[in-house]
Symmetry: C2
Subunit: 474 residues, 2 copies
């Protein structure tokens, strides 16, 4: 039923897929050692880099484990076939659970592994505070009442320049500043839909998207996501044909919670598929600035020719949590989105916008980002190692190439909601899997935050989680 042209697979993916097929068929058994990099290089006639890339991909899918100095092995328990969410659109009723699980705040939490933010200690709060004072020093009174609707013009210009450096041509007039990306995503969804409409989302996916669908009375059409490369486009094509969704809300880079990163050619195919069917893409891209290595990935918006991608970004995860400075580059929907913003909340908060604009103008943002990315990469390594050491055999952990989440699949039968309750009582938070699905899937999964500096206390918390998992199991 798919009418999506299959994206051309790069070499490393072909290699990974071949090995995955061998594992699934049983030809390569759990615990068995994979061919060495040199052997594979020779047999496939490709570079060592390609082999490493393929093995990393398999590792991030949970199929393979690296053992220090001794190569790669098939994961101890071969993973079950991916959980395919139900294909019938679901009315959404997850909000209550999200608030119960996350609404307590983190006041009594010493190990915030369920947090949605990186640790504020990794952010340049002193420099930002200076920018807050300096950026608001020369404010003309009229600016506060006369120039509100468009938002801070210099900040919009600077965001446009950052797009340009990635090769995207985005006019400042296309950018609507919003109160965090979240408001922009909500307003975009409301703009594109009427109650009862179907909307494509990824599963597992960001719980705030589920809450937005619920508040607007929309039906969730869940597209299964791959931990390495994101939403399944063949499944998506079939679901579009069947349910005629009015919008698609996806995270294409370092997806929350899987951490998946759609390769560029897949992003291109995604946009082509959606534009062919007239389905606007709401691209939630708040982790794009956090690759652990190299430059930020191109967004799917880069491949749009019709202006039907609404690309949402934010400074909340990289610079200024609590300032609530986000934006949507809304393509041809920009005038309508600006009006929605004006009638919802008039404009963003000027002091925060002025502070971020002043900080960006100072030129330190990219240096800060490089340091932050290195810290996140290091913390992910430490957290993953601790999880693999302390959690039961058969546990799988994603290895995202950016962001600060890992997705943990416990062996079947474990219950992450029970674990959440037990952990919370000891001051350890986590995000249980059912938060991330409209259909209550992922009961054996959890999302952990690797955005906290790695400390002995955090190591003890992960070890304790391992004990709790065993005791919850009964």
């Amino acid at each position: 039923m798919s009418d999506a042209a299959p994206p051309e697979r790069p070499l490393y993916r072909q290699l990974a897929d071949d090995i995955a097929a061998l594992v699934r068929s049983g030809a390569l058994r759990p615990g068995e050692r994979l061919p060495s990099v040199r052997q594979t290089q020779a047999s496939r006639g490709c570079s060592a880099a390609t082999v490493f890339q393929a093995y990393h991909l398999l590792e991030s899918r949970g199929l393979v484990r690296a053992a220090q100095r001794s190569g790669y092995f098939v994961a101890p328990s071969a993973p079950p076939p991916p959980v395919l969410p139900p294909r019938e659109p679901q009315p959404v009723a997850v909000s209550e659970m999200v608030f119960q699980l996350l609404g307590t705040g983190e006041h009594d939490i010493h190990a915030p592994l369920g947090s949605a933010f990186p640790s504020a200690t990794l952010l340049p709060l002193d420099a930002l505070r200076r920018a807050l004072a300096a950026g608001n020093r020369r404010l003309k009174p009229a600016e506060l009442t006369q120039h509100l609707p468009g938002g801070h013009a210099e900040l919009r210009r600077q965001i446009a320049v950052r797009y340009l450096r990635q090769g995207l041509s985005v006019s400042p007039d296309e950018i609507v500043l919003t109160d965090g990306a979240l408001e922009g995503l909500n307003l975009s969804l409301q703009l594109l839909t009427r109650p009862g409409d179907a909307v494509l989302i990824e599963s597992p996916g960001f719980y705030a998207a589920l809450q937005a669908l619920e508040r607007l009375g929309l039906r969730a059409v869940e597209v299964p996501g791959d931990a390495a490369e994101g939403a399944d486009l063949d499944a998506m094509a079939a679901l579009i044909a069947r349910h005629a969704p009015k919008a698609c809300w996806l995270m294409t880079s370092f997806q929350n919670p899987l951490g998946s990163l759609m390769p560029p050619e897949k992003k291109r195919a995604l946009v082509a598929l959606l534009e062919r069917h007239g389905v606007p893409l709401i691209e939630d891209d708040v982790y794009a600035e956090l690759p652990h290595d190299g430059a930020p990935p191109l967004p799917a918006k880069a491949f749009s020719t019709r202006g039907e991608v609404l690309h949402a970004g934010s400074f909340a995860k990289t610079l200024a949590p609590g300032y609530r400075v986000g934006w949507v580059a809304a393509g041809r929907f920009a005038p309508a989105l600006l009006r929605a913003k004006l009638s919802q909340s008039l404009s963003g908060s000027w002091p925060a916008q002025a502070a971020v604009a002043h900080y960006l103008a100072g030129g330190d943002y990219d240096r800060h980002l490089r340091a932050l990315r290195r810290a996140l990469a290091e913390q992910q390594r430490a957290l993953r190692a601790a999880v693999l050491q302390h959690f039961p055999a058969g546990t799988r952990v994603t290895r995202p190439l950016g962001g600060y989440f890992v997705w943990v699949a416990l062996p079947a039968g474990h219950d992450s909601l029970a674990l959440h309750r037990a952990a919370l009582a000891e001051g350890i938070s986590l995000a249980p899997g059912p938060l991330f699905s409209a259909s209550g899937e992922f009961g054996h999964c959890l999302r952990l935050n690797s955005g906290q500096p790695w400390t002995p206390a955090l190591a003890r918390a992960v070890a304790r989680l391992g004990e709790l998992i065993r005791s919850c199991q009964g």
Copy 2:
């Protein structure tokens, strides 16, 4: 059809109503002099203050004019019977007009008589900027990510203290900080309704309420408003019985655009009527701090016994435009409203909330408000006098007891939309009457902003408007 117990009328209102009846019946003719205060005092057996209060009320209704040193006269052209908006609920489609008329910003406007804000020159921007720096100096990193959901706790406490000084018991936990009152009003409306529902609003009324209804697919049930005392409760009772509205959105003090102020006993009757029918009241009270004389009026919420009044306030009109710091004291809906806020935009902007909290703690807010109120009263006198001098005979102008709007009714046949276009071309803005109605009424009316310091340039602008009115007339 009314089942609202008629509120007991104070003496001054009985007197005013009696005189109004004489004018309407023709017993007192246009231009005729009213009995002197001393005569009336004697004939009614009441105090001089009561007579003055009654004459002021009649003046604010446009029925009577004061002439310096020579007493009160029936207004030159007796006002037409009040325009009663249609009683059938209206689907709303005013948004496009609002954006076209107001969306240009005010960049090229030298006389911003259409503005929705007081002049920023009347606000303590320097002190506020110092509060911005000081209030954000001692921020702990964790505050930015861990304490967001409830909003700034100290600011909520200070708002609760201000309620308490008015005699209202509002817990800080009942207060949800929002991005300006506007976001709070929108979220409240969305919380209480489903698309297609009927909602009571006042006519003429605030255009943002009309836009909110339009975006949410709601039907407007328009209740006629009196320029002195606000919404007509008898009409409201009949409309409730007929249309079963799911919410009522009103401004009860210094209403936009009429400037009306519901007397306390009428607010009590309003709440009793709504609570009897289970219709929650969204009380938009952003001008409450701006009485021209005396203390801020009690809100209708003061008379609520069931927690079904959602009272919205803001610092945007009195202290910090552009900061977007507002709130809703949401009564029994507070937990649901907090959740709506969390899923819409997570939280307000921390730096702005911290700045306002720090400014309030400094103790200068009330002194500032007293100075602002005096300025607004003086500016209103100057603007009204200029309008009455330069606009055509038969023009009526409200005389609100607070806020910074006057509502001008030109003699029948004049067209405020044509006037708006002609004035805009000369750098003069105004808010034409049709913005304030779902049914396109009020074509001969306009709202003028008296929140600008009175200058010779502004006087010339009003004189020029008078000329344009005559030339638009043709």
